[in-house]
Symmetry: C2
């Protein structure tokens, strides 16, 4: 492959407000939730965020799909989707967010998918806990990681690879990591991993490998590109960094009123108006508080019901809108005391940006 395919995206300041063509091309392919559709408890089909590194595999015949389990196991095996459906089934409502969500607001900006706000979605995922497959295969005592490989393949910075990620055995053998064949009661859509994917609740989306076709138990830590080079928190190019893992506490607001097509500006009628939104965290940490900021003054929002350990929580707040220009914001806090920062935390790759969501609103 010629050198021009190996563009190495060094961080670029976005203070000039401009974006590269390749960023826009990625934004044509990968889409976020529309903020107004955060009103739905479960994200409707096609509105869940998408971040695909390579092409969506074309799978004409799911009955021919095989999941191979090998490496450091006693009994290597190869399962069909039917085999997986015959194992004990579980449905979990899980909120997934892309680790790069909000990257476009980090300065300087890493050149990748230029997410603004909404790379998040919630679905009901059905499948079998991964442990049923791993226990049948029998992990060797010296297994230190379990790696998962998708059928999607391509290049990143000159490195050819199938999309792959790993988990530690303790997590992989828990009840909540699922091998999933259905989303919201329907077979997976092609772009969400049909016919089989992993779901790792509480983690940023990169852990939930799509188009899963191979599992490998490893005696050494997995050194795949997406594990050690791509999803790593770093402040500088030189440092080793910290792997991206659980989702950070975050919240988003349904923009009130009506929009301007070209800007994000909103127009709202004066008077009492109910603001809606969602809040979530990672690792199953409950959301304990959401605050709404109006021109920098914070008040408590009312939390909706808990819909599962890994699902976002709705919130609402009645705002008495007065004529003029206003800035609205929302900020969630988890049971572990973690809360959202007012400014974007700097990360070289633009990962984990959970700064408060702000909106500019004109009231008439």
């Amino acid at each position: 492959m010629p050198h021009h395919a190996f563009f190495d995206p060094a961080p670029r300041a976005h203070s000039d407000g401009l974006f590269l063509r390749d960023e826009v091309r990625l934004a044509n392919r990968n889409h976020g939730a529309l903020l107004e559709t955060l009103r739905y408890d479960v994200t409707p089909a096609g509105l869940h965020y998408l971040l695909n590194h390579f092409d969506v595999p074309y799978v004409a015949d799911a009955s021919a799909w095989r999941l191979d389990i090998g490496g450091k196991v006693r009994t290597p095996s190869s399962l069909s989707i039917e085999d997986i459906r015959r194992l004990p089934q579980r449905t979990l409502r899980v909120t997934l967010e892309c680790a790069g969500s909000g990257r476009a607001n980090v300065s300087p900006r890493w050149l990748s998918m230029p997410w603004m706000h909404g790379a998040v979605g919630t679905a009901e995922w059905t499948g079998t806990p991964l442990r049923h497959v791993l226990e049948r295969a029998g992990l060797d005592i010296d297994t230190v990681e379990v790696a998962f490989f998708g059928a999607d393949r391509g290049f990143d910075k000159g490195v050819e690879h199938a999309y792959g990620r790993s988990l530690e055995p303790d997590l992989a053998l828990g009840d909540d990591v699922l091998l999933v064949h259905a989303m919201n009661g329907q077979p997976l859509l092609p772009q969400h991993g049909f016919p089989l994917r992993l779901i790792v609740p509480g983690w940023y989306g990169m852990a939930s490998v799509k188009w899963l076709h191979r599992i490998e138990a490893l005696a050494e830590p997995f050194d795949g590109y997406q594990q050690v080079h791509s999803y790593v928190y770093k402040k500088t190019a030189q440092e080793r960094g910290t792997p991206v893992g659980h989702m950070r506490v975050k919240s988003l607001m349904v923009p009130p009123g009506i929009p301007d097509w070209w800007t994000e500006q909103r127009m709202v009628e004066a008077g009492p108006i109910t603001l809606y939104g969602r809040a979530w965290s990672g690792a199953g940490v409950p959301i304990t508080e959401v605050e709404v900021g109006v021109d920098g003054q914070w008040s408590q929002a009312q939390l909706g019901p808990v819909a599962g350990r890994y699902a976002w929580r709705g919130w609402q707040f009645v705002w008495n809108a007065t004529k003029g220009e206003h800035e609205l914001a929302c900020r969630a806090t988890g049971a572990d005391g973690a809360t959202q920062p007012l400014e974007a935390p700097f990360d070289r790759g633009g990962f984990g940006n959970n700064m408060v969501h702000r909106l500019q609103v004109t009231v008439r």
Copy 2:
């Protein structure tokens, strides 16, 4: 609303390769088909292109939805979705493309949604021919246009309006313009117009008004923003221009091989490889020929079956890939003799760009 909300997007040269933040924000909201999913005859849920001018309306209760028919009619009326389902039903497979598809390749580039290639999709739409509703209402003899209004509302260049478009009575009274409540056998998804939309086969997507809640027969031509200001072919700001109407003949190719994440470069193995794609036109004009270009040498592709007057047609071509760098292209021709240009036709708003689709491929 303050002046900053009324940004007037003058055409901007994209020879510097840079895009504005507001363009990227629109690309976060509106998404195209992924080119690899052109393999599907009918676009799977969530992969059909989306171009929404304003927010997706939140419709919690479709049974409360009303379609009001008024203006120059003998019998104004108000219909529920159930009323519409009781009228004669028809299902049509229709390919829709956004009028701005390919805008990012027109120079200078109009500042709007920066579409690269794939703002297109095909679905099976079910509903009643619009004429059943119009005939029951009884258009006055002096009706010159019928206008359609969605529930989506907002500002564009300072003009507040509900999204609205019009058709001439002859077209509106034909059998093929549908009031649609289902897409691919399921209720419309929120982002595709739930619970009711118009489908105008053969036209660019802007005619197919979503979240349809009002029809008005007019004795004067409709002067709504989206009819007379937005979707108009113009070379200069001064001219009156020509309304955007039928889709122009066009084709796209499924990119062969595997991609590089950051660029559009493809890597293909040497040897015979089948290239797949789709071709379509507007106004029901059949596709009669698709050519595939390899390094500027054109050959005929094999056309797939016709799947309806308004649906795209599949094509394929076996390419004997030889090692090295290659440029692939595809070009469709319709029964009216219209074919795709090699360069993007200039339009100030970036509408109707049907230039041939080109891909850079490395064969190893």
